[in-house]
Amino acid sequence: MSVARAERLVNLVLCLLSTRQYLPAERIRAIVAGYADAPSDEAFHRMFERDKNELRDLGIPLEFGSNRTIDAEDGYRIARRDYELGDIDLEPDEAAAVALAVRLWDSPELTGAAAGALLKLRAAGVDVDQGVPAVVEPKVRTTEPAFGPLLAAVQAGRAVRFDYRRPSPAELRTRTLEPWGVVSWRGRWYVVGHDRDRAAPRCFRLSRIVGEVRAFGRPGVVRRPPGVDLLEFVSTSTGEPPDTTTVRLWVARNRAAGLRRRATVVGGRTIDDVPGDVIELELHHPDSAAGWIAGYGEDAVVLEPEVLRKTVHERLLAAAGGAR
C-alpha cells in the first residue's frame, strides 16, 4: 500500500467517524485529503470503490443511507458505537491466558486472525506479555490445503463442492456441501455441514479431500441451524465402541516390551523350545490390536480368544506368502 493511499484511508476513516450526517461521495471527494488527486470522475469512483472495499474487508462498519432532509443525497458514515471495541481490562492472569491462547495456532489463517485480535486488545490498553514461558503449550496445526478455502466459505456463508475419497469401500466422488464449520478433533480436521446429495448432515475429513475446494453461490445463503454443536457432531460421528476384551498371549522372554507394559504376567510357558510368559491384557479395539500384536511376529502368539488368533494368523499368512 502506497504512503498516499494509507494516508487517504486513515483520513477517510477519521472523517466518516466524525460525521453524523451521511456524506455523499462527491462531498467526500471535496473534503477528504487525497481524493483531490483523482484526475477524472471515473478515476475518483474507481479509487473510492477500492477504498470502501478495503475498509469493509477490515471489518469497518461503513453505513450507506440518507439524511432526513428534503433534498438529501445518499451518503456514507461510520457509526462510532459499531466501530469501537468495548471497554476491556484484563487482570494479569487473564492476560496470561490470552497470551497462551494466541500461541495455540500453528495455522496461517488462524495465527493471523489471533494476532489481529491481540493487536486490538493491546490498543485498548490491555498489556499482554508474550514472552512468558508456559508450563504446558497446546498446539493446533492446520496443514491441509482445504482448510483455508473451507473456513472462508463457512465465514462467507457459501456452499462448496469438492472431490472426496472414502477409503473403504474405496470411492472418489464429488460432494456438494453447505458447510457449517470446520472442526479439529484429536488433531484431525473435519468439515461439518448439510450434504446436499444425501439431504442430511455429514462430516468429512479434510485430509481426504482431493484437489480444490470450490465455493459457489451467493454469500450468506448457508447458515448453521441453531442448536448444532459442531464438536459434538464430529466426536460422536467418529466415536469408537467402548467394549473391552481380555486376551491371553504368549510372549518370548524379554521381548515385546510394548505388549508387556500394558499386561499382567499370569504364568510361564515354553513354545518351540523358547521360554516365555503367558500374559493377559485388556484391549479396547480388537481390530487394530490384531495388527499391533501381529507386528511382534514370532515374539508373540495369541492363545485366546480364537477370533483374535485367526485374525493375527491371516495377517501373518498374507505377509509371509501372498504379495510377490
Binding site: 477519521l14 476491556i88 487473564e94 488433531g187 514370532e298 499368512l317 505377509a319
Partner: protein, 324 residues
C-alpha cells in the same frame, strides 16, 4: 507483520494504543506491534499528516515526542481501537476455550473470566465456524505422570523416569531436565533434556510408565533449544531409510497417520507412497501388522526380511498345538 496489508490495521490501532500508554518508548511499542522501530517511526510520521477535513493545526493528529518516548496530544476522534472481526473473535475465543479442555494447562478460572470479558467487549463478533476438541485421552497412569511432571516443571526439578521407546520397543530408565509440556494433535508430551541421549527429546506422557521428581535442579544446558512443532513432530534426517509401499484401501490410514511423500493414487483406491523410517525393527512391526494390505516395493531387503519374519511367526504359532 511487515507486509503492506497489515499496515492499515496497525495505523488504526496505533493512536488508541499510545493514548493508553502515555510516554511509551518507541522500541517498546514497536515490539508490541511486531515491527522494527524504524517502521513504527514511519507509521507515526504518516499519522502526523492525517486528521479531520480542514487539515489545519487543530485538525491533525498531534503526537509529541520526547527523546525516545511518544504521547498523543490530539487524537482526531480515533480514541478506541476497531472492534474485533468475526474471524479475530473466533481465533481468540476458540483458542481460549481449547485451553479449558487441555488437562492442567491454564488456570481455568482465569480463562473463563478472560472469555467473558472479551465476549462482552467484542459485542456482535461472536465466534463461528471453527471448533476445536483436543480430545486428550488420559488414563490413570498418564494423569499421575502429568501431575508429577507439572510439579517438577513448576519447582524446576529434574525427573527420573521409566520410559517406553516405541521405535525400539524398549523400556529404559532416564534422568531428564524438563523444559516444558506440549499438547500436539491430541497427545501430551514432555520436552526435556535427556542426560543419557545428551539431546532435547519429546517424551509422550502415555509412554512414561513411572516417574519421580528428584531433589535436584533441572539444568538443561543453555544450548538446549525448544522443538519447532509447526511442521509436525517427525524430523527428517539424512540417515533415514525410505520404503516404497503400496497401500490397500484398508491401510490408507498409514498415509494420514505417518508422514509420507510422493503419494500416487492407483486404481481401486490403492495408494503408492514413499515413507521414511528411522528404525527398521519399528517399520517391520508396522508392516507385519498390516498383513496383506501392504506391498513393499522397495527396499528389497525390507520386503525379504518381512516375509521371513512372518514365516517364522507362523511356524512358532503352529508349535502351539504340540507344546502343551
Amino acid at each position: 507483520m511487515t507486509s503492506s496489508q497489515d499496515r492499515l490495521p496497525r495505523l488504526l490501532a496505533l493512536v488508541p494504543y499510545l493514548i493508553a500508554r502515555p510516554g511509551i518508548r518507541v522500541d517498546e511499542a514497536a515490539a508490541d506491534f511486531g515491527v522494527p522501530a524504524r517502521q513504527l517511526r514511519k507509521d507515526l510520521e504518516l499519522l502526523w499528516m492525517c486528521g479531520l477535513p480542514g487539515y489545519g493545526p487543530g485538525d491533525l493528529i498531534d503526537l509529541s515526542f520526547e527523546g525516545d518516548t511518544i504521547s498523543v496530544a490530539f487524537d482526531a476522534g480515533m480514541s478506541r481501537p476497531l472492534r474485533l472481526t468475526g474471524a479475530e473473535a473466533t481465533a481468540l475465543l476458540v483458542a481460549l476455550n481449547t485451553l479449558l479442555e487441555a488437562p492442567g494447562v491454564a488456570d481455568a478460572d482465569a480463562v473463563r473470566r478472560a472469555v467473558a470479558k472479551i465476549e462482552a467487549a467484542a459485542g456482535q463478533a461472536q465466534p463461528a465456524g471453527v471448533a476445536v476438541g483436543l480430545g486428550v485421552r488420559e488414563g490413570e497412569t498418564t494423569a499421575r505422570s502429568r501431575r508429577v511432571v507439572q510439579g517438577a516443571l513448576q519447582a524446576g526439578h529434574a525427573l527420573r523416569m521409566t520410559y517406553y521407546t516405541a521405535s525400539k520397543d524398549r523400556i529404559s530408565e532416564r534422568t531428564v531436565d524438563p523444559m516444558r509440556m506440549l499438547i500436539v494433535e491430541g497427545r501430551s508430551y514432555l520436552e526435556a533434556w535427556c542426560r543419557r541421549a545428551e539431546a532435547v527429546r519429546l517424551f509422550r506422557l502415555d509412554r512414561i510408565d513411572e516417574v519421580t521428581e528428584l531433589d535436584e535442579p533441572a539444568a538443561p544446558p543453555p544450548y538446549a533449544e525448544q522443538t519447532d512443532t509447526s511442521a509436525g513432530l517427525f524430523r527428517e534426517r539424512p540417515d533415514h531409510e525410505v520404503a516404497q509401499l503400496v497401500l490397500a484401501p484398508d491401510a490408507r490410514w498409514v498415509s494420514e497417520y505417518y508422514p509420507v511423500e510422493r503419494v500416487t493414487e492407483l486404481d481401486d483406491g490403492y495408494l503408492r507412497v514413499r515413507m521414511r523410517y528411522a528404525d527398521e525393527s519399528w517399520m517391520v512391526r508396522l508392516l507385519l501388522g498390516l498383513g496383506g494390505d501392504v506391498t513393499v516395493e522397495e527396499p528389497v531387503a525390507l520386503a525379504d526380511g518381512l516375509r521371513e519374519r512372518a514365516r517364522r511367526a507362523l511356524s512358532r504359532a503352529g508349535q502351539l498345538a504340540v507344546t502343551p
